[in-house]
Amino acid sequence: MHYKDEQLNEEKVFKDPVHRYVHVKDQVIWDLIGAPEFQRLRRIKQLGTSYVTFHGAEHSRFNHSLGVYEIVRRIIANFEGRPDWNQEERLLCLCAALLHDLGHGPFSHSFEKVFKLDHEDFTREIVLGDTHINQILARVSADFPQKVADVINKTYQDKLVVSLISSQIDADRMDYLQRDAYFTGVSYGHFDMERILRVMRPTEDQVVVKESGMHAVEDYIMSRYQMYWQVYFHPVTRSAEVILSKILHRAKYLFDNNYQFALQPTHFLSFFEGEVSLSDYLRLDEPVVLYYFQMWADEEDPILSDLCERFSNRHLFKYIEFNPNLQMKEWMELYRLFSDAGIDPEYYLVIDSSSDLPYDFYRPGEEGERLPIHLLMPGGDLRELSRQSDIVEAISGKKRTDHKLYFPLDFVEALPDDSDLKKKMLTILFD
């Protein structure tokens, strides 16, 4: 039997708190899960720094990847025999679902911003490069790794296949919303996924949803909206993220200026030098990063040491609401006051905006910038979701945005009480 058709003698199941069980029967999937590059995902948290706010949010990208695979497996089971569905694409969909986050690094978002990296490039490199994952995929067929990479990169010819993994209603979002809600313990993020799966239908270009399932989709859209503001963009999590970014900036700055680290930053060298090889990238997971942060807390450089102590011990920056339009002059004044007080504003006075953590709200795609969710009407025609649903129309109109100013209040308070600088800072910050 050809490798692509090989089945395990007995179905394997992973107990899962969100989907109850994740079912594996294909030998290829079983082998991929066992590959070191996939096992590494156990050491990358799904929600990065959110655990400082929600102590349960310690789940990993490994959990999530299995969840996405399971959802796609169930969708495909429903699609079998329907028009527009090509069963030949089944294994490709399952592999792409399982591997879609393979290139995520530690605390992905900050790392990508500071070191100008893109996890999707690394996903491609792992799938196509000299890796265990590539060897497994290549046993299916010589062009199979490229097909998997194309699906994940959203450039595969069959757009229906792509839309299962990546669209405005896809397996990726359906898993992470439920999983993140479960592990953070919040009551948002829940929706009737079983219902959505039952009313999904394949079409030539995308998955659509029968109109009778509109209310279940509304719930899904609402949960996306609420999870963003209540979990993903939580201001305390953002504070930890701000400090994390500043640590990376500071460490790179020190390296660029020939600072002698007490602990050689071996795992970071290629990141600092801007030439990150795949093997370097794979070696740097979150436990390694946290080890460095703990050690850097004892470095002589006061800024690096302080920021690392803050991150490790959840000694976070405070924040205030900030309007960059109305408070532009106050910000300039604060910047000067912080400098005069010896609190370097490049590291200790930070504006964080909602666009710094992009999260895709539902977009009706009025001008064809994004493909919207389409409802399949009883007569067979397609209609964009927000044109049928008042709820979706309401939350896809004018968008809420947010800016906050982060700073170490303890540093300001530590200035002498009779200090003019301190009085002025506190007045601007809190009056």
Partner: protein, 166 residues
């Protein structure tokens, strides 16, 4: 302050006005691929390279009152028109952000349709491939757009022109 916002504001200022969200997305992407240091992350979507980060940033600039967004009804669709406001001008005066000169590139892009810019940005997305592979890939991912050989030829010339312009 707000360095990435300021860069986008400089783009709007140089453009005087931008009509169409899709066009805006593709213009920034093409400039980015020509070496202009925009930081918005793009991914490939149904209509070519798209940046959710850019969409959010533009929404923030609208909410802050730095740019105006006017929704206009065309024959059977809506389009959006963007311009820098007075408050936006004031924000830019305080900003120390520098961008390379992009006026000429913006001018030639504004003269083109969003369909054409979608083709150009899609070709640039695959610029790690050979010319022939790029064209094959475009025919695969943009099958329904029915781009002709002439469209491709024009797009290659346009890319060359954009890369050379200062």
């Amino acid at each position: 302050m707000l360095t990435n916002h300021a860069k986008i504001m400089k783009f709007f200022k140089a453009s005087e006005e931008v009509v169409g969200r899709k066009k805006l997305q593709k213009m920034i992407y093409i400039l980015k691929k020509c070496g202009v240091p925009f930081e918005e992350k793009y991914e490939f979507h149904f209509y070519g390279p798209y940046s959710e980060e850019l969409t959010l940033r533009v929404e923030e600039l609208c909410n802050l009152g730095f740019i105006s967004e006017v929704k206009e009804k065309e024959k059977n669709y809506y389009q959006y028109r963007y311009q820098v406001t007075e408050q936006g001008e004031e924000f830019l005066q305080h900003s120390i952000v520098e961008l390379p000169v992009i006026d000429e590139r913006i001018k030639v892009m504004k003269e083109r349709s969003s369909r054409f810019l979608e083709l150009v940005s899609t070709m640039l997305y695959f610029d790690h491939l050979s010319k022939q592979e790029v064209e094959e890939k475009v025919q695969i991912v943009k099958k329904k757009q029915n781009y002709t050989e002439q469209d491709m030829k024009e797009a290659w010339a346009f890319i060359e022109e954009c890369k050379q312009k200062q």
